[in-house]
């Protein structure tokens, strides 16, 4: 799994590339933690999933874990950017869409982050 991060205002955008499963979830978890630790100003987390062809329940669990950190520690919001159809189906089945929004473009994701305060 290849991971990249960028800051835009109070949002952290993490771009994932590769399959998100038990093995890569570990790297993802550590990477996001490190990025969040670097700045108190980050409130929202945008996960760019456009280059993720596969996810399973371990991957979903890793995303849920990041949601909890963002929500509890920073009262922020979690947004998924452009998940592909098979990934979207797994996210829907898992119930994660009840706490996470989906944006189709980065612009839309940033606009959603700005709105803020979605209380699930």
């Amino acid at each position: 799994m290849h991971l990249e991060a960028r800051r835009m205002g109070d949002s952290l955008i993490v771009r994932l590339k590769g399959e998100l499963d038990l093995h890569s979830a570990e790297a993802f978890r550590a990477f996001v933690r490190e990025q969040l630790a670097a700045s108190d100003r980050i409130r929202n987390l945008i996960l760019d999933l456009r280059a993720v062809p596969f996810i399973d329940s371990s991957g979903v669990g890793a995303i849920l874990g990041r949601y909890k950190e963002i929500r509890e520690g920073r009262a922020g919001r979690l947004i998924a950017l452009g998940p592909r159809v098979p990934v979207r189906r797994v996210l829907a089945m898992s119930g994660l869409l009840r706490v996470m929004d989906i944006a189709e473009t980065q612009q839309e994701a940033l606009a959603m982050a700005k709105e803020g305060k979605r209380v699930p």
């Binding site: 399959e19 499963d21 038990l22 093995h23 570990e26 596969f54 399973d56 329940s57 371990s58 979903v60 669990g61 849920l64 874990g65 159809v85 098979p86 797994v90 089945m93 898992s94």
Partner: protein
Amino acid sequence: MTLPEGIANRVALEFPSKAENVAFARTAIAVFASQLDFTLDELDEVKVAVSEAVSNAVIHAYGDEPGLVRVEAAITADGELLIEIVDRGQGIEDVETARQAQWTSRPEERMGLGFTFMEQYMDRVEVESAPGAGTRVLLRKRPAAARVAG
């Protein structure tokens, strides 16, 4: 070598229960499954189900020392895919409870959705497990096109 009656083809995989090997197992089985007339979406479903069962063997079956995981897949003469995931780990005390959605023995880290995903994406899921002896999960699926046609 003769294949068992009613079996058109089969393959077996064996590997230590390491997280790195989950991708190996699901991809290998998906390529084997593509010998049947599955759509790409269905192959993706097979991948998810295998990923769940193999991840369970990696996480739950053995302690810190990795153990052996065996995956066998077969294509029946009438076009059904069978996949068996077997470990010789600690087993499951109460299979019925374990299969319930959101039930997990590790609530801190896991979502308890592994069996749920297997059931959503495969036609049938059978689990045999004995504490101390290990777990055997059997997954079955037919291409939807074949179900409609036949």
